[in-house]
Amino acid sequence: MENIIILNASPRAPKSNSKTYAQIFQKYSKLPTEYFNINKLNHMEICNKIKQFSQLLFVFPLYADSIPVTLLNFLKTLENNPPKNKPVISVLINCGFIEPEQNDTAVKIMKIFCKQNGYVFGSVLKIGSGEAILETPFRFFVSRKIKKLADSVSKKKFCELKVTMPITKKAFLKASESYWINYGRKNGLSKEEMQTLKIE
């Protein structure tokens, strides 16, 4: 039976945007799904689970231009503890920048993992402006693309998708400034305090 294991590799998985993206995927998936957060302690538990699934979707944010250490470490454990039946691996990645292409290197790293370890690479959805888009009227654009991703995985018609806010970069800079000012304000900080040049 076809089914999908969804692994959230965000360092803040329980309260991450990746979690919401995964939930949207689950809502649209025509195949049964099971969701897990990757943490330092459950690598082996997840490695043992994977054999029960025909497809695997990693959901994670871009960190320092590549995959987060949370995911890198999990992949290393998976390499040493491969499942008997290897699922097809798909990727749903998001970055805070408006250009979804900034995720490309991380996707290439995932493809190298797949190639070196004998997994078929499936679909990918690259999300730009992924930090804030869920709280904007553009949420609909992401949901629609995640539905496409879910369909492509279910039908095994694998493809590469991308989505971002449909606004100019100038408007994005303005919107992101407001977003972060509000974020700081909730912690009692002014814009000027957040802009300090001092380090430590």
């Binding site: 803040r12 960190y63 320092a64 900034q102 300090t196 430590e200």
Partner: protein
Amino acid sequence: MKLILTDRPLNISTDNLDKSVKIIDLSTLKISNCVGCYGCWTKTPGKCVIRDDAVGVYPCIAKSDEVLYISYVKYGCYDTTMKTMLERAIPVQQAFIRLLNGETHHVQRDVAMKNAVIIAYGDISDDEKEVFEKLVERNSKNMNFKSCKVIFTTQSLLEETVNNEVRKWKI
């Protein structure tokens, strides 16, 4: 300031080296993963809320105008030790976004522009080399590199490769 950041202990010849050269062996430090809390942007700007050894490293990264990073390569990416530190270095940036060569990137705090040399070691395939070079090129925009060079080598030739590069820094 010049900085050598290595993910393993190395015998680096420091004779005649400029006193401004600092060598940090990350494998001797206790550095935990970034937890993505945004505290360094929105609670204690410029300071990581995790008070481990990383807080002594990212100010050195920020001050340096010449950096030499030495990292094992895994799947075309920095391996865990170096990648963990690079993720923990985000307090040197602000939350705010700017346009750099037409692309969105974070605004830097007081971070020197750098000439960067990355020595990437291990049994690295051509595919991995291609991706790693791309990764460093991406880093250059987010880490204030004004120039960057990637040198691939094997573990057995690593010390020799590092010392060849360090020799170029000698007075």
